[in-house]
């Protein structure tokens, strides 16, 4: 349970860091972070989340090749992940409290 909690914190950290620095500053370091997050998600059997992260990373890669065309897709996929992270918070906090 603690590992998942730590994983969730890592996800939140990355999401919040992006909010501060801006999606347009997406860089190769972010790609590496996302790859690690995706691997952890797969490890915990969170396949849907892993899929979301993979698609976000894919959009990130696309954006780094063509900034103009890719920003909209990147924003949308980033927000899908934001919503998933928000959704995770509630049941997890309840489970931890129990």
């Amino acid at each position: 349970m603690e590992e998942i909690f730590a994983f969730r914190e890592k996800l939140e950290d990355w999401v919040e860091r992006m909010l501060l620095k801006g999606i347009r500053k997406f860089e190769s370091a972010d790609l590496a972070t996302l790859a690690r997050l995706e691997a952890s998600a797969r490890e915990y059997g969170m396949d849907f989340l892993a899929e979301l992260i993979a698609r976000l990373a894919e959009a990130g890669g696309h954006y780094m090749r063509d900034a103009k065309a890719g920003v909209e897709l990147l924003t949308e996929r980033y927000l899908y992940m934001v919503q998933y992270v928000n959704m995770m918070k509630k049941p997890l906090s309840q489970a931890v409290a129990d």
Partner: protein, 554 residues
């Protein structure tokens, strides 16, 4: 001509006493009958499309086989004694002839056919009634009404609670229907009777009408601009965002208001407020809240662009201030009152009622803004003030009673309005244990805790229900969290904590509850509780006919 004659005779069959009185009046009908008794006779001459009726008193009238088309040599421009006389005399002369086998003659006893009422299409209603009328009637259909249908020469539908009756003619024409409210044109009762009559015959027009009157047009340019602005904020990042962005959000919020995007207007202001807190480095600023809002609004706009179904669009667009509609009759059982204060500077008391007919909770709220200097609002004075709806009782008395309201106005969230038209009658109060509380009574707490979170893209609604309990296990004040915790035992033995957060204003109440041993002696009490997040806040306790609102009665 043979056609006209048989049409005419069919029509005469319809013209019985009730029919003629409805179209003319009783006095005219009686006078016409008296004239016949006195010996006035009529001779009939059939033309292509009318009958020339020559009366023995020298007046002449023409009949066209339709009660609304006639002419008479007398000066009256409305239906007159002579016309009625001509009709009645023809009917009496020809009735015995019916069944004699006169070739081509229809029998004079004719059963009218009202099938057209069931064959109408929802689009016919849209032409005959305004969108506002349809909206109001759709709202009223959610409430029960005692319906009486009588078929004579007319099909008369009576709404007994409202004491209104509407008579439909056999002619397929809504404008010929007559309503006892005597309003000109197509009144709301006609539509209500019609829809209720069709519902009885298992024709449900509600969905089709709702879809037709729902206005889902919006300014797509504003929506696109808002999405672009959100993308820009996310793209630049908070660290480098200029403060002028707040003005852009405000301007867009105004544009959203004019572009029929109420939900977007509210959200843009919310984001602006949150960004304002960020720029002030305010302690209340939360990245979580901001990010959640940005995601919800951005993806909501994307969904709006893609959605086709009007009901989905409606949900995404949101609605401006909700409309209040009149409900003929409500019987309300008071459940208690709850004082509250918001961060945005409003104070008020919300009163909760259980409606016996539709088994839902209704609320009435009295609230004042207190952010202006010099505005004073105290819960106690508000609680002791006169209730609306006739002012017979105080709010305090109202919150402990059982009342009947006629012509109450309420909206889709079951909030009651203080309308002057509403009349209140106090009824003897029943025992809470004897009421059928329906879904208002909590049977499965776990299930209840999950409710009220709101549909995707919609704001969460306030969620209140009645919790039956066996006893009170423990009452203690938790200093760390500054809240009073009342642990109650449910009927299945589960212990449930009810929480009252400390507020200076209710210091005495909280102390009283903490130290009062009698609370622990309570058995089989119903608690009115409000769900907020994971916690249950008690509002009042009910047992038998008695009720105690925790923050106002102790």
């Amino acid at each position: 001509m043979a056609d006209f004659k048989s049409d005419f005779q069919r029509w005469i069959g319809l013209c019985n006493e009730e029919y003629l009185i409805k179209y003319a009046n009783k006095g005219l009908y009686n006078r016409a009958c008296k004239e016949i008794e006195k010996g006035v006779t009529v001779s009939y001459e059939f033309m292509d499309d009318h009958v020339r009726c020559a009366l023995s008193d020298d007046s002449v009238c023409l009949l066209y086989g339709d009660i609304e088309r006639f002419s008479c040599s007398c000066p009256s421009d409305k239906i007159c004694k002579h016309v009625i006389l001509a009709i009645v005399a023809y009917a009496t002369q020809h009735q015995p002839a019916a069944g004699m086998g006169d070739a081509g003659d229809e029998p004079a006893v004719f059963k009218p056919d009202f099938g057209w009422l069931l064959q109408l299409h929802p689009s016919d209603f849209l032409q005959a009634f305004t969108a506002a009328q349809i909206e109001e009637v759709l709202f009223r259909l959610e409430y029960g009404e005692a319906l009486e249908v009588a078929e004579t020469s007319f099909l008369t539908v009576t709404l007994q609670l409202q004491q209104v009756e509407v008579s439909f003619d056999q002619e397929a024409d809504l404008s010929r229907a007559m309503c006892s409210c005597k309003a000109k044109g197509n009144c709301i009762h006609k539509l209500e009777c019609l829809l209720r009559y069709r519902l009885v015959h298992e024709i449900d027009d509600r969905e089709a009408l709702q879809a037709d009157i729902t206005d889902v047009s919006y300014d797509a340019e504003v929506a696109a601009e808002a999405r672009a602005l959100l993308a820009e904020v996310l793209g630049i990042g908070l660290a480098k965002l200029p403060e002028t962005v707040c003005t852009r959000f405000e301007l867009l919020a105004i544009a959203a208001h004019n572009g029929n995007l109420p939900a977007l207007e509210k959200d843009l202001r919310g984001i602006k407020g949150e960004l304002g807190l960020f720029f002030q480095r305010h302690v209340k600023f939360s990245q979580d809240v901001l990010l959640d809002r940005l995601a919800r609004v951005y993806l909501g706009l994307a969904a709006l662009e893609k959605s086709e179904r009007p009901e989905l669009k409606k949900q995404l667009l949101g609605s401006f201030k909700s409309k209040y509609h009149t409900v003929p009759h409500l019987t309300l059982y008071a459940l208690g009152a709850n004082p509250w204060e918001t961060r945005s500077g409003y104070k008020g008391v919300t009163y909760y009622f259980f409606s016996l007919a539709d088994k839902r909770i209704y609320t009435y709220t009295e609230a004042r803004p207190v952010y202006y200097e010099g505005t004073s609002f105290t819960y106690a004075t508000s609680y002791k003030s006169k209730a609306p709806w006739g002012g017979l009782v105080t709010m305090e008395e109202l919150s402990h009673s059982q009342v009947s309201l006629t012509s109450a106005k309420t909206n889709r969230e079951q909030r009651l309005s203080s309308s002057d038209e509403t009349k209140l009658v106090v009824l003897p109060r029943e025992n809470i244990e004897e009421l059928d509380l329906g879904e208002t009574l909590c049977r499965d707490l776990a299930e209840r805790m999950g409710e009220g979170a709101g549909v995707l893209f919609e704001q969460a609604t306030e969620h209140v229900f009645l919790l039956p309990t066996k006893s009170v296990l423990q009452v203690f004040y938790e200093a760390a969290t500054q809240q009073l915790i009342i642990t109650v035992e449910a009927h299945d033995g589960e212990s449930i904590p009810l929480v009252i957060p400390y507020q200076g204003e209710f210091d005495k109440t909280i102390r009283y509850l903490e130290n009062n041993k009698r609370l622990l002696e309570l058995r089989d009490v119903y608690w009115l509780v409000q769900v907020r997040g994971d916690e249950l806040y008690p509002i009042s306790m009910l047992q038998g006919k008695s009720l105690t609102s925790l923050k106002l009665d102790l």
